[in-house]
């Protein structure tokens, strides 16, 4: 059975299921309860976007913990709890804030297992909102998954739709490695099919959401939907596109990328993040390194420009990848 619900609700469902099935799962974050102490729950915010609504009432204040605005303590405490037997799910309100608390992820959680010779378990999940599109401006709109994807020992995933979001989050929480779960602003209020009940979408596996053998469009999070729009448009020109939803940024499903490249010989990757040192560049490098003889055209990267995210609506729209930019990139390949 499935129904269409927004991604934010699907995430809330995943959290509820995770907490029901494992008493060690706890939520920590700023405003994750957001009140909820009144019997009728009218004061309950359930997170800045309402994603965790209802959970403190269902599981109580020992499992849904509001923290002060202290990201270092929040992340660091979660790491310590994860190392000693809990399975914490931390909300880092906006991924832009990772600058304040990078050390617990960069030097602690990611490295314990390795530094301690394999004798540590860090079942930590960090949920965090990414991306532009809400005019939230430069310090609340970044897509910084390239940072965590490059840290050995961390895993980083990013769904493109509500159904995947639920299953991917459940996998992330149940994984014994520290996982960063990105929630792109562009999809949080989009509704799509979400099966009921408990199910998992595996980490590390990309999803081919549309098939065609003329060009490969590789999308990340919200840009997958852009890729699908472009693919529909390209049909009118007689071009048929493969659309690959990466889903997992680390581990990266290299096999899926090389398979679609092998099929079409022409690949465009669409990434909301900065053009430097990013996932788009990783994908392009993989194609050139291991798919060289498959390339029938250059690999095109449609990314944000190299600038902070601007505020004004017209500027923000120009900043983000768009249908026009994707189509233009595709046209350069023929």
């Amino acid at each position: 059975m499935s129904r269409e619900i927004p991604t934010a609700f699907a995430i809330g469902e995943a959290l509820r299921i995770a907490m029901e099935s494992d008493p060690d799962v706890i939520l920590m974050g700023e405003d994750v309860a957001g009140g909820g102490q009144r019997p009728d729950g009218t004061d309950e915010a359930g997170g800045i976007l309402g994603t965790t609504r209802g959970l403190i009432r269902a599981f109580g204040p020992e499992r849904v913990l509001d923290t002060p605005i202290s990201e270092m303590a929040l992340l660091g405490t979660a790491v310590g709890a994860a190392a000693t037997g809990m399975r914490p799910v931390v909300e880092l309100m906006f991924m832009d804030f990772i600058g304040v608390c990078l050390d617990p992820l960069l030097n602690q959680a990611s490295k314990f297992r390795y530094m301690f010779g394999g004798k540590a378990r860090l079942p930590l999940t960090v949920r965090t909102v990414t991306g532009a599109g809400m005019q939230a401006a430069a310090q609340h709109s970044q897509s910084l998954y390239w940072i965590t994807s490059g840290i050995p020992g961390l895993k980083t995933v990013i769904p493109s739709n509500a159904g995947d979001a639920k299953g991917l989050l459940l996998s992330a929480i149940r994984c014994d490695d520290p996982v960063v779960f990105c929630e792109p602003k562009g999809i949080l209020f989009l509704s799509s099919d979400v099966p009921e009940g408990d199910y998992e979408v595996p980490l590390g596996i990309a999803n081919l959401v549309r098939e065609g053998s003329d060009v490969s469009l590789v999308g990340i999070g919200a840009t997958v939907n852009l890729a699908l729009q472009a693919a529909a448009q390209l049909e009118n020109e007689g071009l048929h596109a493969d659309v690959l939803d990466l889903r997992s940024l680390q581990p990266l499903d290299e096999e899926a990328i090389l398979t679609t490249l092998g099929k079409t010989g022409r690949l465009v990757v669409i990434d909301e993040a900065t053009p430097r040192c990013g996932i788009a560049s990783d994908v392009a490098a993989l194609c050139v390194d291991q798919g060289f003889d498959l390339l029938n055209a250059p690999v095109k990267r449609v990314t944000a420009p190299f600038s902070p995210v601007p505020f004004s609506r017209v500027l923000e729209e120009a900043y983000m990848p768009s249908l026009e930019k994707v189509l233009a990139a595709v046209h350069e390949l023929f």
Binding site: G265, F292, D293, L294, L295, N296, A297, E332, L333, F334
Partner: protein, 421 residues
Amino acid sequence: MATPIAMPRLGMSMKEGRVVLWPVAVGGRVEKGKPVVVIESEKTDVEVEATQSGVLRHVYIAEGETVPCGTLLGALTGDVAETFDADAFRREHDRPEVVTRAPQRRVEARPSEAGVAKSNRRAVAPAARALAQQLGIDIDAIAGTGPGGRVTKEDIEAWAARRERLVPVGGGVHLEVLRSGDGPPVAMLPGFGTDVSSFAAQARALTSAYTVLGINPRGVGSSDAPGLDLYAVTNAADDVAAVCGEPTHIVGASLGAATAIELALRHPDRVKTLTLITPFVDASPRLTVVLGAWCRMAAESSAETLARVLLPWLFSERVLADATACDRIVRGLAAAAVPAATLSRAAAGLRQWSGSRQGDLARIAAPTLVVVAGADLLTANGAAVASLIPGARPVVIPDAGHAVMIEAADQVTTAILEHLR
């Protein structure tokens, strides 16, 4: 038990140190924690403490000497009496660090203009290159249709598909044979400087009842272009014989007609019927001069300019008066343009053949149709050729130029269809 005293590593940048002072003489006692040697590094004197109490038994490095970190400076023993082998001890404990120097930086030469400037190399997609290598194709022979003239995988595939139409004719040579239709075979042999597309109208009409084999001769279309001095008409005839394994209707125009004649004489078993369009057995001076100029222009001008110059030699006044028709014809001629090298070789072959078969035409046995163009400036003696072939039937198309199968396509088609029946 002896205790080593080594030059310590103090601070991350220290590489060597100088022994300043041995405060205790050899044989003297020193307490644990008290200075046993003073060393200097980076302008600072540092007292190195004894890690055990004992007697200074041996000094390896004297005051004033500078040594790398890790070098064994001296040894302590519990007392003066215990056995101690200074050399063995040194071998065991002396560990001077190797001082590494940063590698010399070579002064970078300025990149040469040629390397950095736009290269004249064509862009070739890696997938195209890989496929070409796999198929054993010389990629330089293939035109690119990708952006900026890039050679794409599709270009290789198209070229390879055309290659599949190649038929071996012996001696390692392959000719391009465009095959269409179903029925008894009809071979079409094009004239000088063009390819089988000149027979497009006829081919279309024939395919419903016949198998049309458009045979591009050496150096034309995708056919091999052996690097000979000339392409002899006799070889061209042998090539056609190799392609047509059975009695075939042969249609040849101009130089293609010469090949057809040669075929009928050398391989009569291959010839079911013969159709000669604007043939010659002896090239006129005008034809010879025009061919010479044709070869030069092909080497020096664009295909389009060449086509424009050829128009009045190939077509009648009626066609020349129609600008639209001329444009269309020029585009067609330019598209069918033959490489300059092939033209020279074919022209040389033509000159060699010219006049050689006048007396032999009487031996041709196959039923022959000769299409004569009334306004043909280049091969005006078609009727004479018809008269020399026993039983040959001339069909005259008045007011048409040398390229009669283009100019008067329908009439030529009708004549051929009738002849083949």
